[in-house]
């Protein structure tokens, strides 16, 4: 276990080197909140509720959701694997005595932990500045389920991106897979528009997909909505994570022998 903790630590240390990145990430968080504040202020000028949301309910949802979305940085995993397989340097991970998937998960954990702290500060500061009456659930079971869902959801996204990266071994180019995944994630995680505003049939279909449980449902749960879905949600995302692990195991076994290490 120590080796994975050290991998997480070294990537956290690497983030600290790039100070401008940290600042821009905080600015980006702030910009998103300002933008959301302006948009929803205009929309809520004419009416007091949109769907089941009040203005502050909507803002609270938006802050939690964008905070969680920013913690989801796993696309770098598929990009890194894709690039390294194509240029022949993926062997860097194959020659050291670690589980390669574990290496990427630890790498992601190190980076996410680092940004977690800074994004949390940025979000808190802006809640105070805009005097947003932050809506947050007080139900302990809901909070526990939401936290579990976030953790399993982040693990699932690491697994998914690791899997997509491995597809490079067979298809060389995985741009189309990544594009489909990104669009699906944006839509289903509610980062474009809250899913509560979609027709019920569409939401029902989306509920079978894992992305619904990565940032959208936890955001809703933490801001006091959809509490009846809490336990069910943990179960669904857990099933997806277990299934994805099986798929990764098979893919690794079948495709890793295709690696030829040619490139630079």
């Amino acid at each position: 276990m120590n080796k994975y903790r050290e991998i997480a630590k070294i990537y956290m240390k690497a983030q600290l080197v790039w100070r401008a990145d940290v600042i821009f990430n905080m600015v980006f968080t702030i910009a998103k909140i300002i933008f959301a504040y302006l948009i929803w202020s205009i929309i809520f000028e004419a009416k007091s509720r949109v769907g089941e949301f009040t203005f502050f309910g909507m803002m609270s949802y938006y802050i939690v959701n964008s905070f969680l979305s920013q913690l989801e940085m796993s696309p770098r995993i598929s990009n890194e694997i894709n690039q390294r397989i194509r240029n022949g340097t993926f062997s860097k991970y194959m020659i050291v005595p670690v589980n390669v998937e574990g290496y990427f998960a630890a790498m992601e954990a190190g980076i996410v932990l680092f940004y977690f702290i800074f994004d949390l500060i940025a979000a808190a500061v802006w809640i105070l500045i805009f005097r947003i009456q932050f809506v947050f659930t007080r139900d302990l079971l809901t909070i526990v389920c939401a936290v579990l869902m976030i953790l399993i959801g982040l693990v699932f996204m690491v697994q998914l991106n690791f899997f997509l990266g491995l597809l490079t071994l067979k298809y060389q180019g995985i741009g189309t897979f990544l594009m489909i995944k990104d669009n699906l994630v944006s839509l289903v995680t509610g980062s474009i528009i809250p899913l509560a505003l979609f027709p019920e049939l569409v939401v029902r279909i989306m509920k079978f997909l894992p992305f619904y449980y990565v940032t959208y449902l936890p955001s809703m749960l933490l801001t006091g909505y959809n509490q009846s879905e809490a336990l069910y949600g943990v179960g669904i995302i857990l099933i997806w994570a277990i299934a994805m692990q099986g798929i990764i195991k098979l893919t690794w076994k079948q495709y890793i022998r295709k690696y030829d290490g040619v490139g630079i």
Partner: protein
């Protein structure tokens, strides 16, 4: 096939290993690119062909061959990065491509153009990571770190950001990272590529000491004859994926390295040199710079003649590796028994 040098344990054994790569053969032009969307033609290329190789514990072996000969492919198979298409491999009792951690802990590989260092951090940061990855005890870690940083003369660079190091310094650091867990075998693929003469010489000195003091078995590929001559008692030459020589390095150079290249630079104009010797090929005959290919046994005499013209600088280079390999291949020397 391979020689028994000493009565020691074989730690590498390959039997008839072959590696065939399949590659896409695209037709010319845009039309060819479009046609490739529907139907693709592939060709097979054998990078290594039915190779038998045995390496004993503690050996320092030079793996020689021109570009595309199959050297790197062989190292990739021995380290498990790729699987052979056919044949058997046994390294330290493992089939490398099983990629077992127990095997990975016993070898190290340094490839000249592939780095394990974190460029934005210091070497100490990377070493700390590798200490945990290889589960090295703190005491042994400190001892090895001190030993190698002293040996490579880089004690003062351990806390410097890697990206600010020179190429030579970086290569020393790569070697320290690789050697930290006391590997039984060290695979080196072009470790001196791009380095200047001084850095290359230092690296050679360190590798010699690691082999002699620590008993680490080393398999080295290099384009530079100096590397092989200075370090390896035994050389294996491969060309087009075939093993064409396996024997003493000294014998290889005595028999197949027939000429040397002499470059003389003058600070005053010198007309055509009237060299009396046969066996001298003129490569360049400028007023200020002259280059000759000289038969090995004539080198001394030709040098003596050139010295009479008072050159400002003079250098003697070994015949390049490609020419030697080509000669062995042409003469069909096969494997030394």
């Amino acid at each position: 096939m391979a020689q028994k040098w000493r009565k020691m344990t074989n730690i590498v054994e390959t039997k008839d290993i072959t590696k065939i790569y399949k590659r896409y053969k695209k037709k010319d032009g845009l039309k060819g690119s479009i046609a490739g969307l529907w139907k693709r033609e592939y060709e097979e290329k054998a990078a290594v062909r039915q190779m038998n190789l045995t390496i004993e514990e503690g050996e320092f072996i030079g793996l020689i061959g021109p570009n595309g000969a199959g050297k790197t492919t062989l190292i990739k198979m021995l380290t498990g990065i790729i699987a052979p298409t056919s044949g058997e491999i046994n390294v330290l009792g493992f089939y490398p491509n099983d990629m077992k951690n127990a095997y990975k802990k016993q070898y190290a590989v340094v490839m000249g153009q592939k780095s394990q260092l974190f460029f934005e951090l210091t070497v100490n940061d990377t070493l700390r990571l590798f200490k945990e990855i290889y589960e090295i005890k703190e005491e042994e870690f400190q001892k090895n770190k001190a030993y190698f940083s002293r040996l490579f003369e880089v004690e003062e660079l351990m806390n410097v950001q890697v990206r600010t190091l020179s190429l030579g310094e970086r290569m020393k650091m790569e070697l320290i990272v690789a050697l930290l867990h006391n590997p039984k075998i060290l695979f080196l693929d072009e470790p001196t590529i791009g380095l200047d003469a001084i850095a290359s010489k230092q690296i050679r000195k360190f590798l010699r000491e690691v082999n002699e003091e620590r008993g680490t078995t080393i398999l080295l590929t290099s384009h530079y004859m100096e590397d092989i001559k200075a370090l390896c008692d035994r050389s294996v030459v491969i060309n087009h994926g075939l093993l064409i020589y396996d024997g003493k390095t000294k014998d290889l150079f005595d028999k197949y390295q027939l000429s040397k290249r002499i470059t003389a630079v003058f600070d005053h104009p010198v007309a055509e040199l009237k060299l009396k010797k046969d066996g001298v090929d003129v490569i360049l005959e400028g007023e200020y710079k002259k280059i000759y290919n000289v038969q090995k046994d004539m080198t001394k005499a030709v040098l003596a003649e050139i010295m009479q013209y008072e050159p400002d600088d003079i250098s003697i280079e070994e015949e390049e590796i490609g020419a030697v390999v080509e000669r062995i291949y042409r003469e069909g020397s096969a494997v030394y028994e």
